[in-house]
């Protein structure tokens, strides 16, 4: 049994909120920089260069990459040999989010109720997904999600007869509908299989996979490559102002499903695909 004090969880979550809002992971930054040369539109190139400058300013001056510093989404893997001491885990995570957003000059974008809409003023509560895993580690991944792109995400309950062609059309149509609203170039997270909620979770988690790493399943890898090509043929381009870089990556996760179903979720993220991971 390993003991982990809540204070160390609070400070890790706080640091991760601030880190994710100001620094993209290296795979994201490299992919964005590489896109400048490949882009065929002159205006598109200019937009991509400005996004590159934006990342530099964010880092050097500690200004969030995007003013929408998101709703804090956390994936938490709790080793079954871990014992949390000094408080409860969910409270500790929310306290870390509170401190990160208040002390880190991040925007408070959360309202306590979807209809009454009163701002909680500290960006809590977070959306937390727990997984119990073997071992004695606590792994925290934070993925603050902006809503320009979240609003353009979709779930499709396809039929088995729709097959892989149906899945392809669902992905491309979701991206085309999103267009300039989702701040392209986007990263497209896709979940295929499971149930209604499981496929959405698969799609969200797919966004946290490095954009230069493909699925280990051969047909899924092929699908990722084909979808990226088709999306980039849509013409939407950087900022939606026309061009050949509409998405930087398509990450797809799959799961077993029911004999009667083929759920597909498309979780769209903008180019500010932020996430940060720590293991305690």
């Amino acid at each position: 049994m390993k003991e982990i004090e809540v204070s160390s969880i609070i400070s890790a979550v706080k640091d991760m909120c601030i880190e994710a809002s100001h620094f993209l992971t290296k795979d994201m930054e490299d992919t964005l920089v590489k896109a400048v040369d490949a882009e065929e539109s002159e205006l598109g190139k200019q937009v991509l260069k400005k996004l590159e400058d934006n990342l530099k300013i964010a880092k050097e001056d500690m200004i969030p990459i995007c003013q929408d510093t998101g709703m804090a989404v956390l994936f938490v893997e709790v080793g079954q040999e871990v014992h949390i001491t000094g408080g409860n885990l969910t409270d500790a995570i929310n306290e870390g989010v509170r401190q990160g957003y208040v002390d880190g000059f991040l925007r408070k974008s959360v309202v306590s109720d979807p209809i009454e809409r009163v701002n909680t003023k500290d960006n809590t509560p977070a959306v937390i997904h727990y997984d119990i895993v073997p071992g004695d580690k606590l792994k925290l991944t934070i993925a603050p999600k902006g809503f320009g792109s979240e609003n353009m995400s979709r779930v499709f309950m396809l039929k088995p007869a729709d097959g892989i062609e149906g899945v392809k059309d669902a992905i491309v149509n979701a991206v085309k509908d999103a267009g300039p609203n989702a701040c392209p170039p986007m990263v497209v997270g896709v979940g295929i299989g499971g149930t209604f909620e499981k496929c959405a979770l698969l799609a969200k988690k797919a966004l946290t996979r490095p954009v230069n790493v493909h699925s280990e399943i051969p047909y899924v890898k092929d699908l990722e490559i084909e979808m990226l090509k088709r999306i980039n043929e849509s013409g939407i381009g950087p900022g939606g102002l026309g061009g050949t870089t509409t998405a930087l990556a398509v990450n797809i996760n799959t799961y077993a499903t029911h004999i009667a179903g083929l759920p597909v979720a498309v979780n769209i993220c903008c180019h500010v695909n932020r996430h940060s991971t720590r293991e305690l």
Partner: protein
């Protein structure tokens, strides 16, 4: 084409702006997003005056992150304009001349842009750190309780935007996509 303009806008300035132009704005602009638009809408229903004179002015759909000490504002990029579509035609009919946001607008908004000789600009979405460098001062002038959604008066210098829908109804999002579609 690169164009430099100062606010407030009038017909001669707007007539010279065409879909696809890069425009650098200097002067006073006002921020308002979802919650501020709802309040302005309700204010008009009560026949009360809006919190600022919108005639000839530009609304920037933006809610900033908090400013660090010694800085006028935090990260300050555009939010999705379509969420304001419901309220926009009425504001344009009352004299609003320009909007800065990102993303598609409805046909109703486009018609109101043409009818009132106005313009819809896009700023680069997700470039809030870069865009904040063109904002010199920021002052909350209404709805302080809304936090990031309050109405702010901004002084901007060479604030970079692109004309998406011009006063003739040309729409860059539609034409530019066709050029690169394969």
């Amino acid at each position: 084409m690169d164009k430099y303009i100062t606010t407030p806008l009038d017909d001669s300035i707007v007539n010279d702006l065409h879909a696809g132009d890069m425009v650098y704005i200097t002067g006073t602009i006002y921020t308002a997003r979802d919650a501020a638009h709802l309040r302005m809408y309700n204010t008009l229903r009560e026949n009360k005056p809006l919190p600022f004179d919108i005639k000839g002015n530009i609304i920037y759909y933006m809610g900033p992150s908090p400013a660090r000490e010694g800085r006028p504002i935090g990260s300050a990029g555009p939010t999705t304009a379509s969420r304001m579509d419901k309220y926009t035609p009425e504001l344009l009919d009352l004299g609003l001349k320009g909007m800065i946001g990102k993303g598609k607008r409805t046909e109703d908004v486009k018609s109101a842009i043409i009818r009132n000789n106005a313009v819809y600009f896009a700023a680069i979405g997700g470039a809030g750190a870069l865009l904040s460098k063109s904002i010199q001062t920021s002052k909350v002038i209404a709805y302080d309780d809304l936090g990031t959604e309050a109405i702010r008066e901004l002084e901007v210098k060479d604030f970079p935007v692109i004309v998406v829908i011009d006063s003739e109804g040309n729409n860059l999002y539609e034409t530019a996509i066709e050029k690169f579609k394969k």
